[in-house]
């Protein structure tokens, strides 16, 4: 044992092993990403920039109940309502201070009308603070930009919480299945169709 240690010490065995590992990485794909050029698409259900959902007729789904403002931990949602001519509630202003938001998505969970959503858009750096003060118009615009069409419907179907299924057992619930795993091993893709797997050679594509 003593001799072995001595030999290891004299011949720099452990350093050489480490070097071998490091040098072998020269011939593999890089794991890093060249960010501004090579962007990362956020996964579905990502909690990014806010949007207000539209009804099929183009008006906002929001009715101004104020639950989102009540649950918001950073108190960044402001809802102002007035009374309309037929004594209905009109959402006069709906404003979100994006810079104060913590993206917990409790507003999405609280909303009883599926009116507010967090989109997958995450790059919205800007030059002035005013650009981060989202008015109702801006929020509806966000919906058109990032959530319009099928995506918006999907969003609420998949990510509105809690789901009915969460409270009861049901058949199609995913559990681990060794057979399925064996079939899919090494080629598990996420919902956006990109590899969800990294290996020693970096991102597989």
């Amino acid at each position: 044992m003593r001799l072995k240690e001595l030999i290891q010490k004299v011949l720099f065995i452990e350093i050489l092993k480490g070097m071998a590992l490091t040098l072998s990485r020269l011939f593999t794909r890089p794991v890093t990403r060249q960010y501004p050029e090579e962007k990362k698409q956020a996964l579905p259900g990502f909690r990014g920039l806010h949007a207000l959902a539209r009804r099929p007729d183009g008006t906002a789904r929001c009715v101004g109940c104020g639950l989102c403002a009540a649950i918001c931990p950073s108190e960044c949602i402001h809802v102002y309502t007035t009374e309309g001519p037929d004594h209905q509630k009109i959402v006069e202003r709906y404003e979100i201070e994006v810079l104060r938001c913590v993206y917990c998505a409790l507003c999405v969970e609280a909303c009883p009308f599926q009116a507010i959503a967090l989109t997958e858009h995450y790059e919205y750096a800007n030059y002035s603070r005013d650009d981060f003060y989202m008015t109702k118009e801006k929020l509806l615009e966000n919906w058109d930009k990032y959530m319009a069409g099928k995506k918006g419907e999907e969003y609420f179907k998949r990510f509105w919480h809690p789901l009915e299924n969460d409270f009861r057992e049901y058949e199609g619930q995913p559990i681990f299945d060794p057979e399925r795993y064996k079939r899919r091993k090494g080629k598990i893709r996420d919902i956006r169709g990109e590899w969800l797997i990294y290996n020693g050679n970096g991102r597989r594509q």
Binding site: C104, A105, L106
Partner: protein, 407 residues
């Protein structure tokens, strides 16, 4: 210096130069203090004579903020305690509230929570080995461990839509069910991960510089470690097999088997070894949980006074809609009066929540027992009498996160 008179100078030259201790303020912007820790070091040459930690630069008043929030509303605050393993904090908070209310999550939710808190442990330890090795001078490990951490964070993103501030568990269960992709990908991770740990160990485990920087540094005996109130890997490095997961099992921990690795000498190297072994054990736990996870609900079905009703019902039933409004604006209906202390084994140590409830929807008082705060207090004991370079190794080895320390 300028007010030394000529006579004093002559006196000095005659009797030999007088030396004074140098006071060095290390931090709060020092990159190796892992946040905003400030240490005032009194140095005699290169030896630390006195070390005083100053904390509070990241104080946000979390405990006070919780007092005027409903129980659900305070959940995102727990993300920001130990912000690199927020999933574990979430689980700890939710568990404390559940114990206060006397409700229990269904088995599937328990398994999911165990999986995510072990994933958090892995990601926390991976970040620890990356930065700790970087501080000491082994720079290569950094990207190796970030590669695996990225995989875990991607899975978090897939699961709950956020990589770091997860806010995923809920009182009475978890927010949403796991997907097939999540289970399969995580299983592949658990099969792959032991090989990756070996890679890190190839790089540093026997490296002579690493050994010299870590062996015999920051030694603390078992008895002393207990007296200082240390928990987690720092305590286990000294040979005390204390682990909340074994002593007061929560969630799915009683149903899986794992070992609690302990060290012997209580030095930096032993704590490093303990954490590396812990990663292997976490890996085992995740694997078992995935294999054994049953079908079933992920939210407690019999606690409508504490959990939000399903969205489908809110949109169709009046009663559920009323429930939704009351739960969100006023907090849980009929929360019991009383107080409770509930602790979990967070990656850094024992993370405890002490909640006093006065029967309203908000906690009357919420006190946090954060491991990082306790561990920061042991720094003078570890550093005094040693070299200034070992201060860095000691900060790294106790693995503090100032978000949790200052709260």
């Amino acid at each position: 210096m300028s007010n030394i008179t000529m006579r004093e100078l002559k006196e000095d030259i005659r009797t030999g130069l007088k030396t004074k201790e140098l006071v060095l303020s290390m931090g709060p912007q020092h990159p190796s203090t892992h946040g905003v820790l400030r240490l005032v070091l009194e140095l005699d040459g290169e030896t630390v004579v006195k070390c005083t930690p100053y904390v509070g630069y990241l104080h946000r008043g979390t405990e006070k903020l919780c007092e005027h929030r409903t129980y659900l509303n305070a959940l995102p605050l727990s993300d920001r305690l130990d912000y690199i393993v927020s999933m574990a904090n979430n689980v700890g908070y939710v568990l404390a509230v559940e114990r206060l209310f006397g409700i229990e999550a269904p088995p599937r939710a328990k398994y999911i929570r165990t999986i995510v808190s072990e994933m958090a442990r892995l990601s926390g330890h991976l970040l620890w080995i990356a930065t700790h090795a970087l501080d000491i001078g082994a720079m290569t490990v950094f990207l190796y461990s970030f590669r695996e951490r990225e995989w875990l964070l991607d899975l978090f993103e897939h699961l709950c839509g956020a990589r770091l501030t997860t806010s995923y568990p809920r009182i009475g269960g978890v927010r949403n069910d796991v997907t097939e992709e999540f289970l399969d990908s995580l299983y592949e991770f658990t099969e792959e991960f032991p090989r990756r740990i070996e890679e890190y160990e190839t790089l540093i485990d026997q490296n002579r510089i690493w050994l010299q920087r870590t062996k015999g540094i920051g030694v603390i005996s078992a008895e002393e470690a207990i007296n200082w109130g240390l928990t987690g890997p720092v305590l286990r490095g000294s040979g005390v097999p204390y682990d909340v997961r074994k002593f007061a099992p929560y969630d799915a921990y009683p149903w899986v088997d794992f070992e609690v690795p302990v060290g012997k000498n209580g030095d930096v190297y032993d704590r490093y070894k303990v954490r590396m072994q812990e990663m292997r054990q976490s890996n085992r736990i995740i694997k078992q949980c995935i294999e054994r996870m049953p079908k079933g609900p992920v939210m407690a079905p019999d606690a409508p006074k504490f959990t939000l009703p399903p969205k489908e019902k809110v949109m169709s039933e009046m009663e559920s809609l009323i429930h939704q409004f009351v739960l969100i604006t006023k907090g849980p209906i009929a929360a019991p009066e009383g107080e409770i202390y509930s602790a979990i084994e967070a990656p850094k140590g024992e993370l405890g929540f002490y909640i006093v409830s006065d029967g309203t929807g908000r906690p009357y008082r919420l006190r946090l027992r954060s491991p990082s705060f306790v561990h920061a207090s042991v720094l003078p004991r570890l550093c005094e009498g040693h070299l200034v370079a070992d201060v860095i190794a000691n900060i790294g080895t106790i693995d503090i996160v100032l978000g949790e320390c200052d709260r």
